[in-house]
């Protein structure tokens, strides 16, 4: 009797998970398998794929040129995540201390940029950052600077563009976790003798850690593979790994090599995630 009802439960479970499962298989696992497969193939003379097994793509990926791109991507992605965190946390905190009506409008303001195409917004950063752009005109006009800064087409510009683009992904999850914190707990900590620093370190930070983790992952992973921002704001010299992959698929028409690099990037992401979650587990 009991067994039968368990089978029925399983059946309902499969029915309910079915659509998601199909989606996962056809739009994630199958493409992934194709990419893995390609990465072990040879490149045809005119950009096609020759179905012959080789490890050359992976060996080539460890060329200094590409290694540099990997290292630079990881560095920029971490810097971006860190900057988003230290800018986003105070913003999220500030919003959560406001009365409900103001809160909602402020959150709306955080989301509003998404209503415009990301490419367009990145182009507007070019206008802001270029030599005759808004920043330089302002600094020169106020006599703060003699000569204009070379902002555009530098790593700085890429980081500025990435922070701008990914900040909402940091603010929203942190805001959500701050909203869940009972502010009475902060009073209780103060009452027990904790100064503001201790209240933050011992109560606020641990209680909002889930939001910090979620936000960091949401920012770190896409910024590792970013290619639009470094393309437009970084110029050719600041290649991130995303640009390499894009160029291999589109310009160089070397799909097997592009696939190999994409797989390596994925492995790096998975390793970083494991490391990150491991560290946070220990902190708990």
């Amino acid at each position: 009797m009991k067994k039968k009802s368990r089978y029925a439960d399983d059946f309902i479970l499969v029915l309910m998970l079915g659509p998601a499962l199909l989606w996962f298989v056809f739009f994630f696992l199958v493409p992934l398998a194709i990419i893995v497969f390609y990465s072990f193939c040879e490149r045809g003379t005119y950009g096609g794929i020759v179905y012959r097994f080789t490890l050359r793509n992976y060996v080539e990926a460890f060329d200094a040129l590409y290694l540099n791109a990997f290292v630079r991507s990881v560095r920029i992605a971490f810097l971006n995540t860190f900057l988003c965190l230290i800018i986003g946390y105070p913003v999220a905190y500030y919003i959560s201390t406001k009365p409900p009506r103001i809160k909602n409008s402020l959150i709306l303001l955080v989301i509003v940029p998404f209503w415009t195409n990301f490419l367009v917004r990145t182009y507007s950063w070019m206008i802001i950052l270029r030599t005759e752009g808004l920043v330089n005109s302002l600094l020169l006009g106020l006599n703060i600077l003699r000569n204009p800064l070379n902002l555009l087409f530098s790593e700085k510009a890429v980081v500025i563009g990435l922070v701008y683009g990914y900040l909402p992904f940091m603010i929203l999850p942190i805001y959500a976790s701050i909203e869940k914190v009972d502010f009475l707990l902060l009073d209780a900590a103060k009452d027990l003798g904790a100064n503001s620093m201790q209240v933050f370190a011992k109560i606020m930070l641990p209680l909002t850690l889930p939001g910090i983790i979620a936000g960091s992952i949401l920012v770190l992973i896409p910024s590792l593979g970013a290619f639009i921002t470094p393309d437009l704001l970084g110029g050719a010299k600041n290649l991130m790994i995303g640009n390499v992959i894009k160029d291999q698929f589109l310009a160089a028409r070397n799909w097997p090599f592009g696939s190999a690099i994409a797989i390596i990037l994925m492995v790096i992401v998975v390793l970083l995630l494991k490391l990150y979650l491991g560290i946070n587990k220990e902190n708990e």
């Binding site: 009475l184 009073d187 209780a188 009452d191 003798g193 904790a194 100064n195 641990p206």
Partner: protein, 366 residues
């Protein structure tokens, strides 16, 4: 009484146009169990938050052992609070919750451990040190909140309806334990509650609060037997009220006519004006019922108020009987009688005589 531990003078706090605390002054003695009793929303929590330093008052000052502490931030005040819904830190174990106050003061690990363990012992939470607050029952959470505050050995402990969330049985148990604990530690307790029985049974003194104001401060006996206002009389226990202009006044006695049928006597310490409206209050348990006048011994009838009536309703409360007695077309009184024997309970509709001593008529102001 002992020396004054905590004093507040003329405290005022507005939230927008609402005056949550209105000109409150109190003096609380060392080692006293002092209760603040009042209905929901009267400003009790706000007053405690001001004393704890968590909320700046708009006016007035707080003194701890004679020293003004208005400029001392909450985290440096030698005052701890048990919050209304405990406010335990959900990400910490019971041990870490209790150790919090000591660890932010950077005490030695060993010393913290000793103190926390003895606090755990004090509130009988042994074996639960490593649980998170979510894994505890309401009563256990309450004990953790208590231990977390007490472990710091504050001069004054503020308790904001600490038993409000517990069921009746557990509440009575905790009342006894709290009272014992307070006797043992001799810490000054400021205990906020809206439960009048709790306040009466536990406190050395009670302050009655209404709409942000303190209406009366006194021992439980004073508050119960000599309430100053109708609000207090009705809030603490049950009460019968008779209102009107007095028919007769002299130095010590006042007489009130009710429904042109009876004259009710009360004693007054100060001279009253015949034209001012008065309220006389009689506690239901002070009124006695007899079947007829004949059974009443009238040798000192000057000192007694007598009314005729008919039993309108009888409520059997087990140890007590509550009678609703109609004494005139407009007026009814409540009478509590000890349940001496189940056979002697008056029936509905029975005609009776009710009487009480004139000194049990309490004169109130509006």
């Amino acid at each position: 009484m002992g020396q004054i531990d905590l004093e507040v003078r003329n405290l005022k706090k507005y939230f927008g146009s609402v005056c949550a605390v209105n000109d409150v002054s109190l003096q609380i003695c060392n080692g006293e169990f002092f209760s603040i009793l009042g209905p929901s929303g009267c400003g009790k929590t706000t007053l405690l938050r001001i004393i704890a330093g968590l909320l700046p008052p708009d006016k007035g000052s707080v003194y701890l052992r004679g020293r003004c502490i208005d400029s001392v931030p909450a985290y440096r005040r030698d005052i701890n609070t048990v919050f209304q819904n405990y406010a335990l830190f959900p990400h910490m174990t019971v041990f870490d919750n209790i150790a919090f106050g000591l660890s932010v003061k950077k005490l030695q690990k060993k010393e913290i451990r000793e103190k926390v363990l003895s606090a755990i012992d004090l509130v009988e939470l042994e074996g639960l040190e490593n649980r998170k607050p979510k894994q505890l029952s309401g009563g256990q959470q309450q004990r953790v909140a208590l231990a977390r505050a007490l472990v710091n050995q504050p001069s004054v402990l503020l308790l904001d309806e600490p038993l409000g969330a517990l069921d009746v049985k557990l509440r009575q148990l905790m009342q006894d334990e709290l009272k014992k604990l307070q006797k043992k530690l001799r810490t000054t307790f400021i205990y906020v509650t809206h439960d009048q029985e709790e306040a009466i049974s536990m406190s050395d003194r009670i302050a009655i609060m209404k709409d942000g104001r303190i209406e009366q401060v006194g021992t439980p006996i004073e508050i119960y037997s000599r309430p100053k206002t109708k609000f207090i009389a009705g809030f603490i226990g049950d009460a019968n009220f008779f209102e009107g202009k007095p028919a007769f006044v002299n130095d010590s006695t006042i007489c009130l006519r009710i429904d042109n049928q009876y004259a009710i006597k009360a004693f007054s310490r100060n001279q009253l004006d015949i034209s001012t409206k008065v309220i006389i209050m009689v506690r239901p348990e002070k009124i006695r019922i007899l079947p007829s006048f004949q059974t009443l011994d009238l040798k000192d009838n000057n000192e007694i108020n007598i009314v005729n009536g008919q039993i309108e309703d009888v409520l059997y409360l087990g140890n007590m009987i509550e009678y609703i007695v109609r004494i005139s077309s407009k007026t009814r009184v409540i009478v509590f009688e000890q349940n001496y024997s189940d056979q002697s309970i008056y029936k509905k509709g029975a005609r009776i005589v009710a009487f009480w001593k004139a000194k049990d008529s309490v004169l109130l102001s509006e």
